[in-house]
Every structure is written in structure tokens, then in C-alpha cells.
């Protein structure tokens, strides 16, 4: 099973886990902190860049913010974001040529069409899960959107450390997610006003191949064309 499928299942179960529960009591919540260690598949240590830690098992309403994934230099920047269910993501094209952003992921299929420099299109994400985003023109462009059931998620610092505040009391699961890696998780018990430490380790692999929006291999063996 591919990593996205694993995490999608985890997120889905997490969302269902609080389906019948009252809204999380963030005010009386505790803190979850720790360190994420990243290594490459050959065992070499790697920087903890573009790693997101989140907690599942309870639901929270979305914020009003719009998170941005820019298209610049034939890359998605950032290549990994986390949002809460029903939040929006903006996709501005900052390159002087066309991009065609799309996703064929089950939680959110969309096709933004081809749009040019300084144009921005937005999408909302009403279903929790992992949404892999690509460009139909440039195969090297890939990004991932984690659509999470609550707002307890954060980007890990370059030193590998993270802190999640306002986690409601209870027994939850903490995940660390990075692109090109299987997510790892650990159980955590959060007490009101308390702090729980959870250290996680993930191993990065190679970027998996993907198909274009028609389900085909890209032309020219995946080389970029404009």
C-alpha cells in the first residue's frame, strides 16, 4: 500500500473517531511536543524540511484562512501543506508560462485548467484525506495537501522540533508526514494543561511516478516541455 493510502485511512478514521463527540475543548487543552528524525532510504540523515505533524481523533471547525501553493520555477511552493476540512487553497501561477494544476485523488478530484502568469485559482476541500496535486504540463511538479479533521497540525522546524498547542484532553494519535515517505504515528495521552512528548522518525524514499490527468504517462519520458 502506498503511503498516501495509509495516511488517508488514518485521517479518515481519525475524523470518524469523533463523529459523535462534542467539539474539542481547546481552551483546556494540553501540549504535544517532540522531535521528528528524518533519514533517507540509504540510512543517511536528512534535514527535517517539509514535514508536518498532526493529531487525529477529534474534529474542529475550519479557520477562514486561505493557504497558498504557488507555482514558481516549475515547482509547487510549498510542496506539502496541511489544512482543515472545508478550508480553501489558492494556486497562483507565478511562472511566465502556463500550468495546469489537477488532482485525481479520491478525496478531491479537480482540474483547474491551464492558466497563465499572475492568475490564481482556488479550491475548497470538504473531505478529509490526502490530495496529491500535479501539473499536467510539467511532470516534475508535485505537491500534497493534507486535509485534516482539526487545526492541530504544524510544520516541523528545521531542527526537527515541533509543538502542538491546544490539543484537547484525551487519547489521540500523532502523525508525522512528509512527501516521499510513509507516515509514522504514535499514541499520545493529553491531559489538561499538561505536555506530552512524542518523538517520531520517518524514512524518505524516491518520488513515486505519477500519471497525467488523463491517466497516461507524460510525453518524452517525463521530461518537461513548455
Amino acid at each position: 500500500m502506498r503511503a498516501p493510502a495509509v495516511i488517508a485511512l488514518a485521517i479518515g478514521l481519525g475524523g470518524l473517531g469523533l463523529a459523535g463527540t462534542a467539539a474539542a475543548d481547546v481552551q483546556a487543552g494540553g501540549r504535544v511536543a517532540g522531535t521528528v528524525t528524518v533519514t533517507e532510504s540509504d540510512g543517511q540523515p536528512a534535514a527535517a524540511a517539509d514535514v508536518i505533524v498532526y493529531v487525529v481523533g477529534f474534529n474542529e471547525p475550519p479557520s477562514d484562512k486561505v493557504t497558498t501553493i504557488a507555482q514558481k520555477g516549475r515547482k509547487f511552493i510549498p510542496a506539502l501543506i496541511a489544512i482543515t476540512v472545508n478550508e480553501r487553497v489558492a494556486f497562483p501561477n507565478l511562472d511566465p508560462f502556463l500550468h495546469n494544476v489537477f488532482s485525481q485523488s479520491v478525496p478531491r478530484k479537480f482540474d483547474l485548467g491551464s492558466f497563465t502568469r499572475n492568475e490564481t485559482k482556488q479550491k475548497d476541500f470538504p473531505v478529509p484525506g490526502v490530495v496529491d496535486v500535479y501539473c499536467n504540463i510539467h511532470p516534475e511538479m508535485a505537491a500534497t495537501i493534507l486535509v485534516l479533521p482539526n487545526r492541530r497540525h504544524t510544520v516541523v522546524g528545521s531542527d526537527g522540533k515541533y509543538t502542538l498547542d491546544g490539543v484537547p484532553p484525551g487519547d489521540w494519535t500523532v502523525f508525522a508526514y512528509a512527501r516521499r515517505a510513509r507516515p509514522t504515528s504514535a499514541r499520545v495521552t493529553v491531559k489538561p494543561g499538561g505536555e506530552a512528548t512524542v518523538d517520531l522518525a520517518i524514512v524518505r524514499g524516491a518520488e513515486p511516478a505519477h500519471l497525467n490527468k488523463y491517466g497516461e504517462k507524460y510525453h518524452d519520458g517525463g521530461q518537461t516541455y513548455r
Binding site: 495546469n100 483547474l112 485548467g113 479550491k123 497516461e216
Partner: protein
């Protein structure tokens, strides 16, 4: 000369518009449009056999590109050819011809976002077209369609009310083209359903006809095809129609 004029008039009046646009149906327009800057080549073939008591047999072929101007507006440039076998009602003489019949431009505007998550259950689409009649030099055809689709899970129901007008200095002819259908996702990318379609003359220059039958639609990557095998309900024997498109 009079016979020739009669043939010309009949051919002009009875000429049917070829349809454009992605659809789950054979004779009905869908409400989907191309994404912005998307391009698709579409073709369609339709038979109209034994219309008006075996007097007319026609096969239409239409081809043309469709371009997504925005995510809700697409532009088409159809070219239409027709093979016809017409028996003159005046002297029972028969004329068989195959000709380049029309070319034109059409616009389709979807009134709600195309994204299935953002779109409401009801999605309306308006289509307008202007076409030049090659065989009648000073004639113009105008076409319009108002389409409303309702989606619920794997089910889609659709109503398409079209109108056509053949405008020439010496004559005008109008038709109403109402139709309706349902389509259900059967498995994978295959849909099945039924539909009914009719062309109702609003004057005495032509007669009306109607057909109904099962439809089938299949999508495979950048390719899609839909078709309907129409059995005659009124003034036509069979009227099958197939549309296919390839996106780029």
C-alpha cells in the same frame, strides 16, 4: 428547375443541426464544458432514416474543435457534412447527395462552476450558435439550447430545450427541439440510460419527428464516446446518434 428548387428547399429546411459538447447522451447536450484553455476535437454522426413516410434518409457528420475560454465558457467551430436521399413530394423523383452543408461558431456557457464539489445539484447550460449554410448562399442558421441537468450521486437527469431558425431573405423556418434523458453510472467509466428527443416544426415548411431509446456513455482517459439508438416514435424509423471526443 422547379424540381431542383424543391429539392433545395427540402434539403435546407430539413437539415438538422449537428450538436457539440460533452454529453452522456446521444441527442442531448450535456452541461459539462472544457476547462480553461483545454482543447477537444469532437465528431458526431447521426442517422435519420425514413423520415416522413420513407421520403427522407439522412446521415450527418460533424467535426470541430472546442476550446475552453474560461472554466465555464467554451467555443466551438463545427463543420457539418450531410449525405441525403430525398424523394420529392412533388414528383416522387429521388436525389442522393453528399455535401459540405454548414460551418459556424458556437458558444456554450455553463452557469455554475464545473467543479463537482462546488457545483449545486442543478447545473444549467446555455448554448448559442450561428452557422453559414454553404448550399444556400444567403441563408443563416441560428441555434439555441437551454439545458438543465440534475445530479444525485451516480444519477443524472437532463432536460434540453433547443430551438433552430433557418433564415433566408425569402423564407424563415423555426423548429423546437425538446428532449430529456437519464443516465446512471453502471461501472467504472461506463454509463447507461434512456432518452427521448424530438424536432417539432413551428411552421408548415417541415414536419415533426420524435425518437426514443437507450443511451450509452464511456470515458477512457482523454477519449469519450456517447451514443443513443433511437427508435422512431413519430415520423421516423430509426435515429441513432454517436458522439466522440478527444481532449488535448
Amino acid at each position: 428547375m422547379r424540381t431542383a428548387f424543391a429539392f433545395l428547399l427540402v434539403a435546407c429546411v430539413l437539415a438538422r443541426p449537428a450538436h457539440a459538447g460533452r454529453s452522456f447522451y446521444g441527442w442531448l447536450y450535456g452541461t459539462e464544458v472544457m476547462p480553461e484553455r483545454g482543447v477537444e476535437l469532437q465528431s458526431w454522426i447521426q442517422d435519420e432514416n425514413d423520415k416522413y413516410g420513407t421520403r427522407i434518409k439522412e446521415t450527418w457528420l460533424s467535426w470541430g474543435p472546442l476550446v475552453g475560454i474560461t472554466d465555464q465558457l467554451e467555443l466551438g467551430l463545427p463543420v457539418e457534412l450531410v449525405w441525403s436521399d430525398i424523394i420529392s413530394p412533388m414528383d416522387q423523383s429521388e436525389k442522393v447527395s453528399f455535401t459540405f452543408k454548414r460551418f459556424g461558431i458556437e458558444a456554450r456557457y455553463r452557469l455554475v462552476p464545473p467543479d463537482p464539489v462546488e457545483a449545486p445539484p442543478f447545473s444549467p447550460m446555455i448554448r448559442v450558435a450561428v452557422k453559414r449554410d454553404v448550399t444556400v448562399r444567403d441563408a443563416v442558421r441560428i441555434e439555441g439550447d437551454a439545458v438543465l441537468a440534475y445530479e444525485a450521486g451516480t444519477f443524472q437527469g437532463l432536460i434540453d430545450v433547443g430551438i433552430t431558425g433557418d433564415l433566408a431573405p425569402s423564407s424563415r423556418h423555426f423548429e423546437l427541439h425538446p428532449g430529456a434523458g437519464v443516465s446512471v453510472l453502471a461501472t467504472g467509466d461506463l454509463r447507461v440510460g434512456v432518452e427521448v428527443y424530438s424536432e417539432l416544426s413551428l411552421d408548415s415548411l417541415a414536419e415533426s419527428w420524435a425518437t426514443a431509446g437507450p443511451n450509452l456513455s464511456w470515458t477512457h482517459g482523454r477519449f469519450w464516446v456517447s451514443g443513443m439508438f433511437g427508435v422512431g416514435l413519430y415520423h421516423v424509423k430509426v435515429a441513432p446518434r454517436v458522439i466522440w471526443g478527444i481532449a488535448f
